[in-house]
């Protein structure tokens, strides 16, 4: 039985889809069978980030409504042959998803794949709740910034109340993935530190992804950064986060920026 991991955040634009693609590809590269499911019905983007936008024929809603078989809707990645994508529908809205339908699809995927990553839409409404409903684990993508941390806290509350596991009295394993971390700004005390974020959310850390132009370039090219440029900092951080997700005990190193001469001279304190 495979593991179902929801990638969620509450707030939009923090990097859910990018992180789903990067983590999923990183796990698939190790030989595990991985399915990425886009739950953002009506605003799908995972296909674009994965570079599969021209190969979409059937989607999640088609499978739920019985218009296509799961095997017909799954798109095999051209770079990693254990990596598959189940796209969202672009023409429907989130009401087209039913809980029973989603449950059936997730059950089938779970029996075939080692990992099922559910890319949640932003918000806390139906789409986001269905994306997390059947999850065993959750990756909460958070930017070190007040509104993102607040929304993450709200999502953690939902994970502990509205998931199948929570309702059955079981724990859902939660991990915080801090993205768009700017070491220089954190050193100057202009950005919440990793310790601040972890102390406030009290959820263990999966990894710290530094702010990076490479991530944007990877999106432009339609390739997860862990596949296109596996040696750059952001990709390395994702690859390590994926290993931790698989249970490896790998310490997280907080990226740091050496203080500049002027900072030292003017005695700017680190937060």
């Amino acid at each position: 039985m495979g593991k179902v991991v929801v990638v969620t955040s509450g707030k939009g634009g923090v990097g859910k889809t990018t992180s789903t693609a990067a983590l999923g590809a990183a796990v698939a590269k190790t030989g595990k069978k991985v399915a990425l499911v886009d739950f953002d019905v009506g605003l799908r983007n995972l296909d674009l980030i994965m570079g599969a936008e021209r190969r979409v024929v059937f989607d999640l809603v088609n499978v739920i409504q019985g218009q296509a078989k799961l095997s017909q809707a799954l798109i095999r990645d051209k770079r990693v042959d254990t990596l598959f994508l189940l796209p969202a529908s672009q023409t429907r809205d989130k009401d087209a998803l039913t809980e029973d339908g989603v449950g059936e699809v997730i059950d089938k995927l779970r029996s075939v794949f080692d990992y099922v990553f559910c890319d949640s839409p932003a918000g806390i409404e139906r789409g986001a709740q269905l994306a997390m409903r059947f999850a065993d684990e959750a990756v909460i993508v958070t930017n070190p910034e007040v509104s993102s941390v607040r929304d993450s806290d709200r999502i953690i509350g939902l994970l502990d109340a509205r998931t199948m596991r929570a309702e059955q009295g079981e724990q859902i394993a939660k991990h915080v993935l801090v993205t768009r971390y700017d070491a220089a700004r954190a050193a100057r005390g202009e950005m919440l530190s990793i310790d601040d974020v972890l102390e406030i959310l009290s959820v263990p850390l999966l990894g710290i992804i530094p702010e990076s132009q490479d991530v944007l370039r990877a999106s432009n090219l339609g390739s997860p950064v862990t596949l296109s440029e596996p040696l750059n900092n952001a990709a390395r951080a994702y690859l390590e986060a994926a290993r931790r997700l698989e249970g490896e005990d790998l310490p997280v190193v907080v990226p740091f920026e050496r203080k500049g001469f002027l900072d030292r001279l003017l005695g700017r304190r680190a937060a």
Partner: protein, 90 residues
Amino acid sequence: MSILDLFKRRTSAPVARERLQVLLAYERRSRGQPDLVSILREEIMAVIAKHVQIDQDYIQVSMDRGETMSTLEIDIQIPNKSAVPLAMAG
């Protein structure tokens, strides 16, 4: 304030952390209790308004949730001249 302080930039991250801690402590407490206080306020108002003319502004409903016990405090001010029951006044 020394002249050196002019060059020191005040950091904003500690302020962010403190604001979040205060806000989230409150939001976590009220989670799963979908605005109980405002529902109570409305229903209590309706009952009292059946018998006495009251002004919305003179009703205070507050709730204090403790670890072992919670208290619900309702404070209704009835101005003397309208304290006459509606049936008699009409």
